[in-house]
Symmetry: C2
Subunit: 346 residues, 2 copies
Amino acid sequence: MSIESIVQSTRIVLASRPDGAPTTENFRLEAVNLPELTEGQVLIRIIYLSLDPYMRGRMSAAESYAEPVEIGEVMVGGTVGQVVESRHPGFESGDYVLAYAGWQSHAVVVGDQLQKLDPAAAPLSTALGVLGMPGFTAYSGLLKIGQPKEGETVVVAAASGPVGSAVGQIAKLKGARAVGIAGGPEKCAYLLDELGFDAAIDHRAPDFGEQLRAAVPDGIDVYFENVGGAVAAAVLPLLNEYARVPVCGLIAHYNDATAPEGPDRLPEFLSRVLVKSLTIRGFIMAEFVGEMYTDFLRDVSGWIRDGRFAYREDFVDGIENAPTAFIGLLEGRNFGKMLVRVAEES
Amino acid sequence: MSIESIVQSTRIVLASRPDGAPTTENFRLEAVNLPELTEGQVLIRIIYLSLDPYMRGRMSAAESYAEPVEIGEVMVGGTVGQVVESRHPGFESGDYVLAYAGWQSHAVVVGDQLQKLDPAAAPLSTALGVLGMPGFTAYSGLLKIGQPKEGETVVVAAASGPVGSAVGQIAKLKGARAVGIAGGPEKCAYLLDELGFDAAIDHRAPDFGEQLRAAVPDGIDVYFENVGGAVAAAVLPLLNEYARVPVCGLIAHYNDATAPEGPDRLPEFLSRVLVKSLTIRGFIMAEFVGEMYTDFLRDVSGWIRDGRFAYREDFVDGIENAPTAFIGLLEGRNFGKMLVRVAEES
């Protein structure tokens, strides 16, 4: 890049921290000139931006497993991009890469932090979903912590999303029963017809609790926790002795500004942990990358190739629409892995 | 036993289910004639009765890991006794045995369910404490679930009790720092002076939370949960990434008649499980008996012999005093393993 051809990046920055549910006011669209490349850096144009529930945590200053986004900083996020110019020996113009480049159209990134993608091996967008962080969250959490055995019952919520749909399908491939919870009849039909879940329950149904109980006649051995809230409350009394609960997300609570009203359900929860010898285990997928990522890519891409594993993506066009799409994601308005198509693939 | 010499048992039965904290009204002292022995049975006179917090659970009809005691039935409990008459080939008059015979002076028990005790190997009462169920609860829960590593910090409450004191001492023997929480300066001094804890904190102190924080400068890696309540609330924010929480008891909540007032702390709890990748694992020691009981007896009796492991017992005399002693146990009025001396050893 010569200084005559300054590249602009259109990006979404955090304008203010949300109090409760984020609104579009918390985001600001702006354009900045990108700096010249220095040695080891790469300029990429971003094609796909992944939107994921964990980003709600980055918008808050509360302690978490990662630093918050500062006010005025670009929102973080996983992206698939294409190299425009490279000063890193490992990359050349035209290469497709996975980068943690955030909500923007272009970025200058350190080449060592990029991962090259082969567009012939799998659709590029899958590196952000079924073959990326959400898929690996499902794979590692279910197999390492959930450890479903043949004939056991696995329950997962947000089951039409990228994590939940992978959890259910992997559970089935391991010989377990998969029960999915999702919002609305369309998503439930998808679980049964496309993903092969044994049962699907609409959490908006007035008799949700009864339906759940009826769907798990032998109780629940693994509850993959990614939502919390009313779903978790309905699941808890149905957990069997020695049940395992991998906790990878709590989307129902991400917008809680204060602790919900009482009664305080923590003592009852811990009492059940004790009485049923439950295992509750929080995790961030990064913990298992060294141990399991190669197996994950081999297994899941193999299952997709064999037609034994389906996935669904939900695209919105244009970086300027990322805030609205993200707000909808937190409300369950997406159907499948939520992606922003920032630019055309080529 | 001939029918001319009918043996009476003085016993405590459950008179009514408590609503909140048990009172003496919930118990009734009565005398019954014991039946004649049939083949395989043994008549024992009971010497020591163990009083343990789990018995509060047996007094309620709520679902638990064991069946409740029925109204009018003798209260359950571990005992050490001596054989008076035997129709089982494995036992003869005068043998000392461990039996789950309950709150009574005499009992007819099935010989196959007895375990013979050698009074020369260890004081008989230890089979109900440091070398029995409480000691094994500490040993199995700490080593199997807590897995303290050298230099890590282990926190335990009710630390002068039979479980807590064993947890702290085993943690020290494994090279970890042990921080104990107990009620009152006398118990705290005992933790430091007799048991070798690195720090002891009085949970009744007005600045308990600050003292706890100061006592764990590197955070907490293992919290052995046997109390719940305010102690657990103070511990939670101090847990390190990947901390382990074996849950074997929740004495602070055993008398809860309804869920405590809000706010609802469960979402915050689960959020911390997620953010810190915590492991919360309930257990009943029976789960690990097959795998670890032999090691436990070898290790702990060896440590006691070598003077590296101390224990303390708190005796009350007479089966008629069991209810009052048990009520006091739930309030932390005991100091050491609570035992009823039902009769003299010989």
